[in-house]
Symmetry: C2
Subunit: 237 residues, 2 copies
């Protein structure tokens, strides 16, 4: 009888079997190293929509790799205002910004039903000292996130922010082997607005304008980019 993973705990912790092996932490590892990495992945758990992985304020012990779906990291400030810091796609890590303060500063919430792999950071960094490729990939993933946030700083107008946001998702989906021109906008308009620092009404209006100008096509959460160049010209990079 075959071993069937349960819904709440898919025991497939084999990076080597995972489709994200070319994007996630294992990039550049040989088979033996990958087995060692697999051995420190503690769980690979399904999170239901709106379920959170940990809470802002919790002590930092693990970093997480998105296996499927999407997580958004939400920070709450002293006034109780929430800020969606980022959206995390399969193959991306979250929790790394907690290394420095030693506790998490945002709460990752599953945007749709999603799977994340949990990795003890102490074990990960120990392993990284033994595996130059793993260390390099960890640094690369962090550099990538720094780089992305620097690029976004240049987007000042609401149009630039929206265009930049769509282009970023497009590029990241493309990297993951999906279409760059057609994908799901899984998060709500309200959350897009919050993340970009604008009103939901503005998101709605600007998306409508892009649809009218034949730049985009949107059916509920399904988005098609019909004029990529227009978006690129809008952001100017």
């Amino acid at each position: 009888m075959a071993l069937i993973p349960t819904a709440s705990s898919p025991k497939q912790l084999r990076c080597s079997q995972c489709s994200l092996v070319k994007l996630c932490l294992p990039v550049g590892l040989n088979d033996e190293d990958m087995m060692q990495l697999e051995s420190i992945i503690e769980t690979s758990k399904i999170y239901k929509q709106n379920e959170s992985v940990y809470r802002a304020g919790d002590p930092f012990h693990h970093v997480y790799a998105v296996k499927s779906g999407m997580f958004q990291t939400v920070a709450i400030d002293a006034n109780g205002d929430s800020q969606i810091v980022g959206f995390h796609l399969p193959g991306e890590l979250f929790g790394l910004d907690a290394i420095y303060p030693g506790h998490y500063t945002s709460t990752p919430v599953a945007v749709s039903s999603s799977i994340a792999c949990s990795i003890d950071f102490k074990e990960l960094s120990t392993l990284a000292t033994q595996m130059p490729s793993l260390q390099h990939q960890l640094l690369t993933l962090m550099s990538k996130e720094m780089h992305a946030s620097h690029v976004n700083m240049g987007d000042h107008s609401a149009d630039q922010k929206i265009a930049g946001f769509i282009l970023s998702l497009s590029a990241r989906y493309k990297q993951r082997g999906y279409s760059a021109n057609q994908f799901q906008l899984l998060m709500s308009r309200k959350d897009i607005a919050n993340h970009l620092g604008m009103a939901p009404e503005t998101v709605s209006r600007l998306l409508k304008r892009l649809i009218n100008e034949d730049v985009l096509d949107i059916n509920q959460s399904d988005i098609t980019i019909k004029n990529m160049k227009y978006l690129q010209d809008t952001v100017g990079h």
Copy 2:
């Protein structure tokens, strides 16, 4: 006769002698490890005001540690608009966002006459695999930068951005052993405005308002914070 370093090339490459040993890369290293780190620091060069360390587009080989003064990293987009991505204080690194793309994406310019240490990244990462503490500090410094940019995302209004900017400098100077309440605003108003994504006129007006409300005192580049709590309440974190 004592060995006197020349102005253009201060040959003091000893981290152990550097006042930033508690903040910069050497944090947590023992004497022997520190000597090894010292051995891969290639130069510690003085940059005149407005002089740049490298150019955006150059291939990535080195990361830099600020030894004294201040550097600002400037990115130019396709439309020729420049964006000041960050200001770097002594003990901070720059160039790390280039690991991922493999080439620099911004140009670091000395805000005032400044010194930076140049470190070959390949050698640094090799060393980091041999020294868990060095690897940890490298990851910590990157995490710190990610964390800071996430915190800044919450600042939406111009007041919040200015307050957040001043508080960030204050905290960083304090960490470096300087007063949290009094320091030099070395960069120009125009550059502050550019960095924060607002008009220089707005910076001028808001700073004036903060002076009138007895929150700040400013004499040319010298700034005194008279009401830290007001600034903290403004940003709300």
